[in-house]
C-alpha cells in the first residue's frame, strides 16, 4: 500500500474508530498516525466528539416522570394487546 496522506486518513476515520476497516488498512493508518502530530490531534478531536454524542442521550435533564393518567393509558393499551400476545405465543418446547 502506498503512503497515505492525512486527508485520506481523515476520510476513513469513523470506520477506523469503529473498527470496521480491514486489519491491513488499520495497521497502515496506525503507522501513519504514530508519526504524524496533526493526525493525532484530529483523531483526538473526533474521538471526543463521538464520546460527547454518546453522552448526549443520558443527560441529567431527563423527562418528567409519566403522569398517572399517561401510565394508565399505556397499561390499558398493553392489557388490550396481551391476550393476542399470549394466544400467539409459540408453545414451549
Amino acid at each position: 500500500m502506498t503512503k497515505l496522506e492525512c486527508k485520506q486518513i481523515f476520510a476513513m476515520l469513523s470506520e477506523y474508530l469503529d473498527r470496521e476497516l480491514p486489519a491491513d488498512l488499520c495497521q497502515t493508518i496506525d503507522a501513519h498516525i504514530a508519526s504524524c502530530p496533526p493526525c493525532v490531534e484530529f483523531v483526538k478531536s473526533l474521538e471526543k466528539t463521538v464520546a460527547y454524542c454518546r453522552g448526549a442521550g443520558t443527560s441529567s435533564d431527563g423527562p418528567h416522570p409519566l403522569s398517572a393518567a399517561n401510565l394508565e393509558e399505556l397499561r390499558q393499551a398493553y392489557e388490550r394487546s396481551a391476550p393476542v400476545l399470549i394466544k400467539n405465543r409459540p408453545a414451549a418446547s
Binding site: 492525512c6 486527508k7 481523515f10 476520510a11 476515520l13 469513523s14 470506520e15 469503529d18 470496521e20 496533526p38 490531534e41 484530529f42 483526538k44 478531536s45 473526533l46 471526543k48 466528539t49 463521538v50 464520546a51 460527547y52 454524542c53 454518546r54 453522552g55 448526549a56 442521550g57 443520558t58 443527560s59 431527563g62 423527562p63 418528567h64 409519566l66 399517561n70 401510565l71 393509558e73 399505556l74 397499561r75 393499551a77 398493553y78 392489557e79 388490550r80 394487546s81 396481551a82 393476542v84 400476545l85 399470549i86 400467539n88 405465543r89
Partner: protein
Amino acid sequence: MSKGTEEVELAKRLMSGDSSAFEPFVTLFQHKLFHYSFLTCGQREDAEEVAQETLLKVFESLHTLREPERVRSWIYTIARNVCYMKRRKSIFAPEEEISLDQVMPSFRQDGSERKLEIADWSSLPDAQAMNSELRQTLQRAIHSLPDIYRSVLMLRDVEELTTEETADILGVSTDVIKTRLHRARLAVRQKLDQELTTAGVAS
C-alpha cells in the same frame, strides 16, 4: 450486559404476558425516547409527547413485533414517524448534502511545518464531565445537521444502535449509514471546533 440485551429481555417478557416487565420497560424507553425526540424535534414539550405517543403505539401493536431481538429498531422506527408527524414535515423532503470537503479541516504551512487548523481540544472536559454550556453547544450542533445526517448520528452514536439496526430503521444500506455517520460526526466536530476557537466552551 451487552448493548440492547436488557431491552430484548424486557420485550420477551412483555410478549409472553409477564406484566411485571411493563413498568421497567416503560421507564427505560420513556427516557431513551425523550432524548431521541428532544434532539430530533428540538422541543422539550414535543419530546415528552413523542415519547408517550410512541409508547402507546408500541403497546397497541406489540403483537406485530415478530422478533423481540429487533425491538430497538422497531421502536425507533415508530418514534421517527411520530416525530415527523409532529413536525409536519415530509420525511421525503429534499435534503441538503454535506460534502467531505465542507467538514474537513484545512492545513497551513508554518515555515517548514505543515500545521492543522484546529482548536485546542485538550481544554475540553471528558464526556462524563460535560458542563451544561458544552451540552447545549452539542445539542445545537446535532440539531443543525440536515436530517439525513442527524438521524444516523442520533441512532448510531446517541442511542448506540448498530450499523445494521440503523440501516434497518432508515431503509438504506450499511455503506450509506457509514458514509453519513462519518460526515455527521465531522460536521459536529467542526461546529465544536469553531465554538472553541471563537467563544471557548471549556469550563
